[in-house]
Symmetry: C2
Subunit: 364 residues, 2 copies
């Protein structure tokens, strides 16, 4: 009897019980073509508690090691929320075990490590995707339509992106994101990842030619970045700036300005609300006769979402996996390419900071 692939959801294993894995567990439950299948932790008790608290079905496999998840032949795909320094080991191993790979960001400590992950994925024919959820919000496609419209937006000229949040004292002392042996890229890898991604996304993933870190990054006593920024410069004159920080009130702004239009949003990573998301478009704005008001004013557009953006991500990833598994398709290359370009720019920002804010050429 022929099996309808939709009736066989992609079976996910999760390795590690990070907080973010709670959200992704729910997303796997919500995605119509995915199923929670296994959880592995270094502690089987922790895995068991995580499964119970996060809606895993009674049949789910509970493992006391990451290896056990990767060795389970019924796991199709693995979600890896481990600290960045562990990505190369576990992501490569997952690929070698033929598991499709949904990897938390930042994808690696640097592009050289990331290339090893990608090589493993390619050699083993598995799909790679990083877990940058906002890319999958229906709003994102709507915004891209506007940015791509030569009449309404024109030629892209400048972008500003900002992601900051005010970490509490416990985070600043104990979180993996302030530890040089765990998430050595600190705020640049955690928050700056989103800023850089939003800039590259706006620029249709054309890499900048040059990256210059802004002076005055804040580092903790062991050298991990808590706050920094940079400017990105393209061959055609486009300029972008970003600021990322663990030390300021929660802010998630993107402003992209073209010759004819302006796009703005204030919640680009996590929309204010789950079931809808907004952005503002201005097109050929000008003034009234005495320059005492705008004609036309920018307008707000709201996009409703049938699924939370992280479930859209799981759905898209699972669709690609199904295509490979069930229909013999090749892995979709755009996702690893987006990840790699984001990592390349992060590397350049870090290099610029280390070299006293010198401009760094971005070489792909």
């Amino acid at each position: 009897m022929a099996v309808n692939p939709i009736q066989n959801p992609i079976q996910f294993g999760i390795i590690g019980c990070a907080d973010i894995a709670r959200k992704v567990s729910r997303a796997i439950i919500l995605a119509p073509n995915a199923a929670l299948y296994a959880i592995g932790s270094r502690s089987i008790d922790k895995a068991s508690q995580f499964a119970a608290a996060n809606g895993f079905p009674p049949s789910a496999k509970i493992y006391g090691s990451y290896d056990d998840v990767l060795d389970d032949p019924d796991v199709d795909a693995v979600y890896v929320p481990l600290p960045t320094s562990l990505h190369i080991r576990w992501a490569v191993l997952a690929a070698e075990k033929k598991k499709h790979l949904l990897l938390e960001k930042p994808v690696a400590l640097n592009v050289s490590e990331f290339d090893q992950i990608l090589q493993a994925c390619e050699a083993n024919g598995v799909q790679f995707m990083d877990a940058t959820m906002w890319m999958h919000n229906p709003r994102t496609a709507n915004m891209k339509e506007f940015l791509s419209d030569s009449q309404r937006f024109g030629q892209l000229k400048t972008i500003n992106s900002c992601f900051t949040f005010a970490a509490d004292p416990d985070f600043l002392k104990n979180d993996i994101r302030v530890k040089p042996d765990l998430d050595a890229l600190g705020a640049l890898g955690d928050a700056g990842w989103y800023c850089v991604r939003s800039i590259l996304w706006t620029a249709d993933f054309e890499l900048p030619k040059t990256v210059v870190a802004l002076r005055g990054p804040v580092l903790n006593e062991v050298g991990v970045i808590l706050s920094c920024g940079a400017s990105l410069h393209w061959e055609d004159g486009k300029v972008a700036t970003f600021h990322c920080s663990f030390l300021s009130n929660l802010t998630m702004d993107v402003t992209a300005i073209g010759t004819k239009g302006t796009l703005r949003l204030r919640d680009f990573i996590i929309p204010f609300e789950e079931d809808k998301a907004s952005f503002t478009m201005g097109t050929e704005s000008w003034f009234n006769e005495l320059v005492t008001g705008w004609v036309p004013k920018p307008s707000e557009h709201t996009v409703t979402t049938d699924l939370p953006q992280e479930a859209c991500m799981v759905r898209e990833f699972s669709r690609l996996v199904e295509g490979i598994k069930g229909n013999g398709q090749s892995p979709e290359k755009k996702w690893p390419t987006f990840s790699r370009k984001t990592q390349l720019v992060l590397d350049a920002v870090k290099a610029s900071i280390e070299k006293g804010f010198k401009p760094i050429e971005v070489v792909s």
Copy 2:
């Protein structure tokens, strides 16, 4: 019989018939303590047409030279909308003729010229104010209350400001703001002035220690800036960035982020509408439990304005002039100080561009 000063409005002379003088003429009419009294142009016909078209009373003096306005003993104050390169000559002369001085921005080609203007004002006991209208919008004071609130905003960490507009081909060929002999600072002086002012205003006019121009400014064929940006750095780690341009769609954004709060507005120079103006405040924003939404969301605040902001400016300027003229008060120093600090930072941005994007120390 004692004369009530309110019944004797401050009598304004205008020298030059620039477009912006139309808006300020209306503001002088609207301000309850000011009156349009004289207009001077190099062409008496042009002055006459300007007066007729802009609500000057029949009794208004129409002069065929700027000197005649300055020589009229009944002119209390002069509004100077001339090209920047002419400021030093006419602003100094106006002060020497004991006229209080409302001067268009940028106030001078550099701070050394501006200091000559200020010396003339001080020596002659006249009030100086630049015509940065948004400073006088009631919204501005409301926003400052928020920024000053240690509970709601906390300590200022970063600012981004942007002012761009898409100049048409005629502007880019013929406007005084693209001519090296008229407004040599180009987009930096015209649009960047507002960005720098908004940054300094946010930072309570504490000067940055260092200014670094962003790479990739656009200059026209005679070397006038059409687009540029910079980062500003303070001793305490605060960082600001700005972008100004004649080459992108109309955008006027300020985002200021503190440890506890975020202020945003999208129409800081010219509010979308004349009778009200809004801004967004976020305070101690965080996420819901699964990080799928914000709690609380930023909130929008609207301030109604009894008078257009430019009329508020004229009213405040006239109030100060009245205090000097009628009550023997001294000129208010804060306005020339704000102007001078803004000019100092513009000078530093220009120097950084000229020196290949080197950091420039700002020395007051």
